[in-house]
């Protein structure tokens, strides 16, 4: 399923809103989550899961092609942990 199919599904599930409104809602949900992550926050959506950030230390990597050592800087990566309900429903 893609974002536009999700928007269609949301618009069909609630007849009170237009497709255009559904589009803004879906975009807003995801931008709210990524903005909060960028601020260093954690998002907890009961029954769905939680989004948080994890830090990775800098390390010495290797260019697999040349074998040359390269410095990989420390970075922050997003992490999603599925909630109980989602975990149980997917594994059925």
């Amino acid at each position: 399923m893609t974002k536009s199919e999700l928007i269609d599904a949301v618009a069909n599930a609630n007849k009170d809103i237009t497709r255009r409104e559904a589009e803004v809602v879906v975009s807003t949900v995801f931008s709210a989550i990524s903005d909060e992550l960028a601020n260093g926050g954690r998002i907890e959506l009961r029954g769905f899961g939680s989004f948080s950030i994890k830090t990775r230390d800098s390390r010495t990597g290797r260019n697999p092609k040349t074998g040359e050592s390269v410095h990989v800087p420390a970075k922050t990566v997003p992490h999603f942990k599925p909630g109980k309900e989602l975990r149980e429903r997917v594994d059925k």
Partner: protein, 92 residues
């Protein structure tokens, strides 16, 4: 950040009532859960992909008792953030 905070952002930006905003956030999440439960991936461009992955059975160990157990094959949801979100996190 919780569902209700996302609902307030929707309420401000979309002009739906508090109650409608809360309902529509729930619909969005419910729709994603339904699709994932059916075994289909959900791809949100600019945010990331939620993927259903099958894990094979493997030998595990009960960490408390040290007892060997077989972990049954199962399905799990994984999230891969889009490059856009990853880049957003590095800006600090």
């Amino acid at each position: 950040m919780t569902k209700s905070e996302i609902a307030s952002i929707i309420c401000d930006r979309v002009g739906l009532s508090k109650k409608e905003s809360a309902e529509i956030v729930e619909i969005v999440l419910e729709e994603i859960k339904n699709v994932l439960a059916s075994g289909t991936d959900v791809k949100i461009s600019g945010f990331g992909h939620f993927m259903v992955r099958s894990k094979n059975s493997r030998r595990g160990r009960n960490p408390k008792t040290g007892e060997g157990i077989t972990i049954e094959p199962r399905k799990v949801v994984t999230f891969r953030a889009s490059q856009l979100v990853k880049d957003q996190l590095q800006k600090d």
